[in-house]
Subunit: 260 residues, 4 copies
């Protein structure tokens, strides 16, 4: 065969299978999104259309990749948890990583117009991604809690920061003002000086967004007696839940372990 002489170049490809019996996290991050969101006139600190666009991409991921069990996102990042036992592309890291980020990017651009009908894309939004393996379901819970805390801490800071900037402070003054303040002080700043009750801000800002599958019963049609014929199916839902024991009790099927 004509091609055999240089066939040895294929031997440099390495096997990058992810370890078995590990949950796989694919985390996608907007690249230079500070500039991108500014250039496209996003509301600061949170742009609801922008977040909903991200959520629409996350939901599309569930339709495309059957082995994603839960996803969590806030700001310009989204983490997708793949089930412990996935055999998608034989668990090859490059495949999982590249297909995830490629599809997410594609949907983001294709859905853009739906969420920003009057706001043309000025350049190509771009995401980086990484893969992390976690050997226990419990650590996945901790990962998600960690991210939700991250969302909270960032959001509280950013809310204060933008209140200060919008009320006339420079960026530098606002940063200096906030340096070392505690949660209560930040809340007071918002409430007393700006009449903003932090707890009444939209949950999507404060808690981020979860996407997962939910078993739902749907009426398919009515039978001859006019009684509904039901069918249950998995529906992809977006929520802004508090990630606590109750959540996991209600959704215990999400992190179901592989039987050994």
């Amino acid at each position: 065969m004509a091609n055999s002489k240089y066939e040895y170049v294929k031997e440099f490809e390495v096997d990058d299978k992810l370890p078995l019996y590990n949950w796989i996290v694919v985390r996608i991050d907007g690249c230079h999104f500070k500039r991108f969101t500014t250039d496209h006139g996003f509301d600061k600190p949170n742009d609801e259309c922008g977040l909903n666009l991200m959520n629409s991409c996350a939901a599309a991921m569930f339709d495309r990749f059957a082995d994603i069990v839960i996803a969590y996102g806030f700001s310009d990042e989204y983490s997708f948890i793949w089930k412990e036992s996935t055999e998608f592309h034989e668990r090859r890291k490059s495949k999982i990583l590249s297909l995830s980020v490629s599809f997410f990017t594609g949907v983001y651009i294709r859905n853009w117009e739906k969420f920003f009908p009057k706001n043309d894309l000025k350049d190509t939004p771009c995401f980086d991604a990484r893969v992390i393996c976690y050997p226990k379901a419990r650590i996945i819970k901790h990962y998600l809690e960690y991210k939700q805390t991250d969302c909270h801490v960032n959001n509280q800071y950013n809310t204060c920061f933008w209140v200060l900037v919008k009320s006339g402070k420079t960026v530098g003054e606002a940063q200096k003002f906030l340096m070392g303040t505690h949660k209560k002080e930040k809340n007071d700043l918002l409430f007393i000086q700006h009449a903003i009750n932090y707890k009444e801000l939209p949950a999507i800002f404060r808690k981020g967004s979860f996407v997962y599958r939910k078993r739902v019963e749907e009426t398919v049609k009515l039978d001859s007696n006019g009684r509904p014929i039901l069918r249950s199916r998995n529906k992809v839902v977006v929520g802004h839940d508090d990630l606590n024991d109750q959540f996991w009790k209600n959704h215990s099927y999400i992190l179901l372990k592989k039987k050994i």
Copy 2:
């Protein structure tokens, strides 16, 4: 700090720096493109608009990533060679892989309309990608030659296959007919039975496409005496060259080694 309790989840992230003094190949492949191209009515075996769209994405990669030195593509795949000494994101594999495939996908979708103005995207095109390291410039040359031979062998087969199918054979009959035929027999089939001179088919089909930077002189403006003021700059060009010694002699700057 509120977030410290679960901070340990970050320790699971692994360092994935690619080895130093290696050329890095990022190869991007269309995912399920057989179906995608059929659904979108691409000419078979080659759709010139489709190939030009791919080339436009490859050229955009050069503008975005300064350390790509040459790229080669045919059909639905494209290989990007990053220079041996790149320090892009500290050579982290996940970053290089994900940003490459994300950006490529994004440009593909955004440029689609330009190349297929009457042909709406029906679903989200998606690419996978992999990273391969090569320790010598010479092996990169072999890699590219290997790919160009691959292009040739595939294209010759596909040209014959589609000639047979378009002239009334079933897919199975065409495959059976071609099984085990040699280059000459394939050329004869095309030439004698279908009056196609393989060598006169467009070079973009037979040889694939190279993208690289070329030093060019441009007239910026005329001086007061009407003489041109020249400026030299690197221009990204697309070619369908034969990859041989002459090519490398003419473009020796492309695979310039890092000085040690």
Copy 3:
């Protein structure tokens, strides 16, 4: 500093930390031990002194490496299980691998004379080793059961093989005779033709050897009333247990999980 010019060579060293919250198996295997044992006149299929020498090395490993929790060996191989949470040399694979196999080899040679006082070492015994990570305690149990079954299957075959060879068959004849026989046929061969009751062979041959720590009470001295003063301590013991639920019930402390 004089050495800085070539200091870049250090950057080629890669971080090889093993993933967190995984049990680590280091498996050590004799290299060319078929020849080594023949050259040194070992009894076949099992040499009790040889196995005891291996066990003495395994026990020494427990004194040297505090994070080994259980080990299992048969023939010329030994598997050492390191606890899930070990931070020995920051879990660096090269360190764990090299120190394990270096120390094991060293003890094997230094203990040789004790087990083979009349049998000088003719050449340098040598071991290879590998590291495998397991994300759950349950899989470690399966690993050990797998190895014990391996021991059993091999030992039964080898016992039959050597009975045949010692009774006059050639190696080829013995292999042919045994090909495809089942457990019962092998037992019959031993019992009916050679009056060997397989189940009465020493447990060390049939079941291999476990090494682990056991909490024991020891009399330190007597008090003034002649009553023993006890002290409890961990003692490294060698056993030939059946690896079953009862074993793990009795030794539940061995695979104690790291608290999260």
Copy 4:
């Protein structure tokens, strides 16, 4: 087959082939050798018997592993360079690492008595090891130069340090005295105050030891006319060369590249 139920545990073993067309360095280091050498009464800063023992181990490595092309050692460490094209155990890292360090340790212990006939081993000497890949022969040269400079810098410091300690200073005083001194000051200290000409110290101390194969002609026997019948063979030699261009010119066969 009886063993199939838990056979899945084998799937956790990962492919760890080292990248092709790379030179492989295996560096072996004494573990806790400061204590080991003190316990065994080694001369400080250098014990000639101890170094010769290390060299004897290195030479034995060349007999055992045909693909080692050059080795360099000083103090309690030794680096072995494996040729770029080695296919030893399919370049599997664990095999190369473990067999190297196991064999080295074994020879160290077995040769001990030859070099320290009156000095019994009090405990088991133990080595760690690591593997580093280098993609160019030139970087291997730099690696070796780096190591030789390391030897020099360390040896000069240690020579001064032990001169001070042996002449009555405490460890702390000696360290303080030497802090920040330059090469010339150290030489002066040795020469003026202690009449030691650093350059006249044995080369094995100042330059470390190289081991490599040398083509030599040997007289096999005399022919009927009394003339020698010569045979050329590769002989493993130990030298204390200066690693410079001349060395590489004289031994250009050592780092011969793999033909592509």
